[in-house]
Symmetry: D2
Subunit: 349 residues, 4 copies
C-alpha cells in the first residue's frame, strides 16, 4: 500500500526500455543529439506552440526555480499560494535562483489562489514605490498541492489579473498530466491559451526516472534560460538520456495513459473513503492525490498493516484518543494497483 508519494514508484517499463535503446553508439553531448531535437519538436506539437523554447532538466525544483529566475528580477515578488511547492518544499530554491526574490503568499481553498485575494495582494505590493519589493510574477500549480485542478477558465482568471499588472505567469505542472486528463481539455488550453508564459512540465512523478521539461511559450528568454540552466549545473552532458525518457513518455500518449491510471486509482480510493463512516474528504479528488480525515484508530490499523502515507500536516501524532480524527495525504501513481487501494479501504473500514 504505497501512497506516500508518486515519487516512490519506479519508472514505467517503456521509459526504462527507451534508455537502453538510446544507448547505442556515440552521440553529441549537451543536447545536440537527434533525440533531443525530436523531443523539442514533439512538445511543440503537443502544445500547438511551434515557436516555444523547450529545455529538459532533471528535477522539478530545477524546473520551477529556473522558470522563476527568467520571469522575475531579484527584487520582484513572486505571487503564489501559501502551500505552493516553491514556497514549502524547495528549501528556498526560487530565492537562490532568482537572486533573492520574495515569495508573497496568497490564500485560497484547495491550494488554489483566490482571484480576488491575488488581486488585492498584488495591488498592495509595491504601493510604496522603491521602498517595497516590486511586483514580479505569478506562479500557480496545476494540479495543486491539495489535489485540486484549476480549470482553463480559472487559469485564465488568474492570468487576467496578472496581465492587469503586466506580470508574467508560470505554471508548476509537476502533475500536469494528472490535471490535463482530469480536465479533458488540450494542453494549449490549459496553458498559453489561458495566458501562461512558462510551464514546468512534469515527467518524474508520472513514470519517468528524472526529467522535466520547461516550456517557454514566449521564446524571448530562451538564451537566458539556457545560460541559467548551465550555470545551475543542470545541463546534462549525456543529454540523450533525458531526451529518451521524455520521448518515451510522450510516445503514443503514454503520459496520458499513466496519468489516467493514477487518477483512476485516486478516484477509487476517494470513492471508497466517502463510504466509510467517520471518514471524510478534505479536498476534491481532481487528480492523483486524496486528502482525507479519519479516526486515529484507523490510522493505527493502516500503519500496522504497512500502509505508507503521510499524516498531513506532519505534526500530528498516532498517540492519543482512537476516535479523534487525523488528516492524511494519500498519493497514487502509474504503479498503484486496484488491490492496493482495496486493501487500504478494507483496513480503513
Amino acid at each position: 500500500m504505497h501512497f506516500a508519494s508518486d515519487n516512490t514508484a519506479g519508472v514505467a517499463p517503456a521509459i526504462l526500455a527507451a534508455l537502453s535503446a538510446a544507448n547505442a553508439g556515440h552521440m553529441p553531448s549537451y543536447g545536440a543529439d537527434p533525440l533531443s531535437a525530436a523531443v523539442v519538436a514533439r512538445l511543440r506539437a503537443i502544445f500547438e506552440a511551434p515557436e516555444a523554447a523547450v529545455y529538459l532538466v532533471p528535477t522539478g525544483t530545477a524546473a520551477n526555480a529556473l522558470s522563476c529566475a527568467v520571469l522575475t528580477q531579484p527584487w520582484g515578488a513572486i505571487f503564489c499560494h501559501r502551500n505552493a511547492h516553491i514556497e514549502e518544499d524547495e528549501c528556498g530554491a526560487p530565492e537562490f535562483y532568482t537572486g533573492g526574490s520574495k515569495l508573497v503568499l496568497v490564500e485560497g481553498a484547495d491550494a488554489k489562489m483566490d482571484p480576488e485575494a491575488l488581486r488585492r495582494i498584488i495591488a498592495h505590493t509595491g504601493r510604496g514605490g522603491i521602498h517595497n519589493v516590486q511586483r514580479g510574477m505569478v506562479s500557480l500549480t496545476n494540479a495543486t498541492e491539495a489535489g485540486a485542478v484549476y480549470t482553463p477558465a480559472e487559469v485564465a482568471a488568474i492570468c487576467a489579473i496578472a496581465r492587469d499588472f503586466k506580470l508574467p505567469v508560470h505554471m508548476d505542472g509537476a502533475r500536469f498530466a494528472n490535471a490535463l486528463v482530469s480536465l479533458g481539455c488540450t494542453p494549449a488550453e490549459m496553458t498559453w491559451k489561458a495566458g501562461v508564459e512558462v510551464l514546468s512540465f512534469g515527467g518524474t512523478k508520472n513514470g519517468c526516472m528524472g526529467v522535466e521539461a520547461v516550456i517557454l511559450f514566449n521564446p524571448a528568454r530562451a538564451h537566458e534560460f539556457e545560460t541559467r540552466r548551465k550555470r545551475g549545473g543542470h545541463l546534462f552532458s549525456k543529454h540523450r538520456f533525458l531526451a529518451a525518457q521524455m520521448a518515451a513518455y510522450l510516445e503514443g500518449d503514454l503520459w496520458l495513459d499513466l496519468a489516467r491510471h493514477a487518477n483512476a486509482m485516486a478516484a477509487r480510493l476517494s470513492a471508497g473513503i466517502r463510504t466509510v463512516p467517520g471518514a471524510h474528504l478534505l479536498h476534491p479528488t481532481d487528480a492523483n492525490e486524496v486528502f482525507a480525515a479519519f479516526p486515529r484508530g484507523a490510522h493505527r490499523r493502516l500503519q500496522a498493516a504497512g500502509a505508507a502515507y503521510y499524516l498531513w500536516p506532519f505534526d500530528q501524532s498516532l498517540e492519543g484518543d482512537a476516535a479523534e480524527s487525523l488528516s492524511a495525504r494519500m498519493v497514487t501513481s502509474w504503479a498503484t494497483t486496484e488491490a492496493e487501494v482495496d486493501t487500504f479501504l478494507a483496513h480503513l473500514k
Copy 2:
C-alpha cells in the same frame, strides 16, 4: 572514430542493467533507500574514510560548484589553474553557487598548478586586508584538463601550501578513475592522505549515465552540503537511480576496468602519434586525453574520414597551408575500440 569527448559515449552495459534491477517496486525517495545507503558505505570503504559524508549529484558542474560553495565564503578567492574546468567550462557555476567568489588563476605546465606560482598568488591575494577579496580555497583537477596527472606527492605539495594559509583543498575528479589507474596508488593516497578535503568523484565520463559523488572527508559541512544540494535543485526524488548507477560503477571494480581501458586506448593513440613524422604530443598522455599537433593536411584527411575530435584551442581553421601544424584534443573512453584508434592513426600517417 569518436574522440570528441568521453561524454559522447553511452552507458556501460552493467550500469544500464543496474537501472532495470533498481526499478523493482517502491522505494523511499530522496536518498532514504537502501541502495543509496550502500553506495555511501562502499565509497567510504574504497576511500578508507569511515566518517566521510557522501552525496550524489547528476553532473560534474553541480559537484564542483557545490563543493566550492561549502569550502569558501562569497568573498573568498578560489585558487585554480587557468584552464580548470571550473574556470573555463561551467558558465560561472562556481560564482553562482558560492554567491560571487572570485576565481584567481594560477599558471603551470600541463594544466597543473605550479606550486611556487600558487604560493605567490595566495600570498599576494588578500595582502590589502579588507579591500581585497580574501583567501578562500584551492581547487585542483586530477586528471588535469591537459590529460596530465598529479602524483600523490604533487597533490600533497599543493595541499601543503594551502595549509600554510589555512585554506581547504578541493579536487575536481571528473576523471578521477583515469588518474588513479595511471598512478597505481590508492584512492586515499590521492586525496585525503595528501590533504584534500572535498572530492568531486566522477562517474559520468567513465561510463555512467549521469552521476557524480561528492565526498567530504571532513563531514563538518555535511548538513550545509545537503541544504545547498536541495536548494540547487540537485536532490533527486527517485534517488535510487543515481545510486544504482554508482553502485554498479563501483561493483567488482568496474570503474577501474573502464578507466584502464580508456587509458590504454589513449596510450595506443599517443604511441602511434609519436611515430608519425610531423606530429608531436603537446602534453604527456597520463590518462585518457591526447593532445597533439600535426599538419593541417592530416586534419583534413581525418575529418573527411569522419573522425570526431576538437581542434584545441577552438579558434583554428582547417582552411590554409596544408603543411602548417594545428593542435588537437582526442579523448578516449570506456567505449573506444582499438580499431577506432588504428583507423585514426592510419589516416594520420
Copy 3:
C-alpha cells in the same frame, strides 16, 4: 507641521558642528582614525559590552541587511513581524545581503510579535527537513513600526523562544533611543541582557545626518561583518565623518535628550488627539510615532493647512464622505516644536 517622518528633519546642531570639528587636517581612512576608535569605545561603555564589535554604516537598511547576513545562512528563515521594516520597506535588501533568505512573517498587536505565534511558526518551519527552508534567526524592532515598545521582559520572552530553537536574535533599533527613554531601562537591559546578539543602533532618524552603528555583542562574526560591509560598498573612506556624527550624538547624552524631546512631542500630540471627539488612537504612543483615526473632514482641513503626514495605510483617499474616519501616522522628531503640535491639534478639532 512636519509629521511625515523623523527623517525629514535636519541634523541636530551639535552633530553638524562636529563635522566641522572633525575636518581639521588629514586622517587615516577607512576607520583607522582616533575618532572612530573613540566611538567604538564609547558604545562599548554605554552598552556595558567591552568585547562587542562595533561598525558604522550610513543607512538603516544597510545596518539591518548586514546584520541579517551575518546571523543566518541563505537557506535560513528570518522570523519577523509582518510589518517589520525589513519586510515592508527595504525593497528586499535582507534577501539580497543574505543571498536569498526567506522572511517568515509573524502576527501580533502593535507590530510586536506575539510570542506564541512566533513559537508556533518557528516550530512549523523546517519541520519537513531538507525540503523546507531551515530555521535561521529572529528579528524584532524596538520601537516597533506601530510606535509601540517591547519591554525588556518582552524582549527576553522573544529571545527565550529563539534560544529554544538555537536561533540568534537581531534587534532593529532604528528608533532605539526613543524606545530606551520610554522604558527607562539601560541599553544593556534592552539588548544583550535580554538575549539580543546583534543590534542596529539608529542615529539618522534621531538627529544624525546619516549614520547607524551595528553592535555585535558576540564578536565572533566581526570579521565577516567587516567583509560584508566592504563588499556592500558601505565602508566609508572618509570614515571620520561617520564617527564624528556618532560621537557627537552620544556626547553628553545628546541622543537621549533628542529622543526625550521627540517622545514628549508625540505624547503631547497623542494626548491632544485623545481629547478630540471623533478621533482615537490606533496604537499606544510609546515612542515618537502617533497612529490615529479621525474624520476625513479633519484630514482635509489639516492638509489644506499644510500639515505633512501619511494616511496609513497609503491606499485611502481624501475624496469621499467627510465624516468617515481615515487612519494616519504622525511622526515627531528632535526638531518638532510644541507650536507645530498645537497648530495640528487646533486644525484637528
Copy 4:
C-alpha cells in the same frame, strides 16, 4: 607630508559649509527635495546629456558595483584592467552586486587596457558557447590606477571594440575631475561622445565628504538602478546632504579647481623627483598620483621624517640594502600644499 591617499584629506570648506546651509528646516526624504533635483539638472548640463539618469551614492565602491550590476547579467564577463579598482580594491563588490559575474583581466601599460589585448580576450571569452561565461561589459578607469589618463580617442578606441561585440562600457571616474582637467576636453567628450554608457563620477577623493554620482547616459536602466540602489542600502533618507555636497562641488566649477590644484601638486612632485639622481618615475604623472622608485635609504629618511605614502606594491620592506630601489605611490589632493611637496623633495634628495 600626506601622500597616502586623496581620501585622507578632509572636506573642502565650501562643501562643508553647504551641509550647514542645507540643514535649514524640513525636507522631503529619499531624494524628493529641490536640492537633489538641482544636482540632477546641473550634472545633465555639465555633461550635455539632458536625458541622462543621475543617482547619488555615498561611496565609489557602491557606484562601481551598482553600475556593473545594471550593465551585465550574472553570467556576463566584466572586461577590465588587471589593476582596476573593481578587481583589486573592492573585496568582490562587483561580484556581489552582479550576482556572480566574472572579472576577466586585461593587460596594458600604465593600468590602461591595451586595445588589442582587450579585443583578443573578448573574442576568446564565450567562444565555447553556453559552457563559458558570456561576454558582458567593459569597464575602464579614468584616471587609471597608475595615475595615467586615457585620451578621448583612447576611450573611443576601447568603446569601439566593445561595440563590435555589442557590449556596454562603464567608466570608473573616481578621479574623473583629475583626468578631465589633465585632458582639457569636455566631460561629454570624455564619456558618452566616446561611447561610455555609465559613469561613476567621483566626488569623495576630490574634496567631498562621501558622495559619488552615477550617470546613466542611456536612461533605459534607470528604474533598475534605483531599485538596486535601495536594495543595496544606498538610498539615503536625508538625501539632501548628499545633494548638498555635490551641488557645492559643482558650484562655480569648484570641482575643476580642486582637481587642478591636486594635479599641479602631483606635477610639482613628479618634476622634483625627476631631478633626483637614483630616482625615476614608473608611470606618467597625468593626474594626481605619482609612482616612483628611489633608494631604500631615501625611503627610510622620508618615513622617519613623517612622510605618509605607500610602498607600491605593499610587499616590499624597508629592511635591507640602503641603495636598492623600492617603488612607491604618492597621491596628492585638493589639500596638498606646496610646502608638503617641497619638504618631501628635500628629504628625498
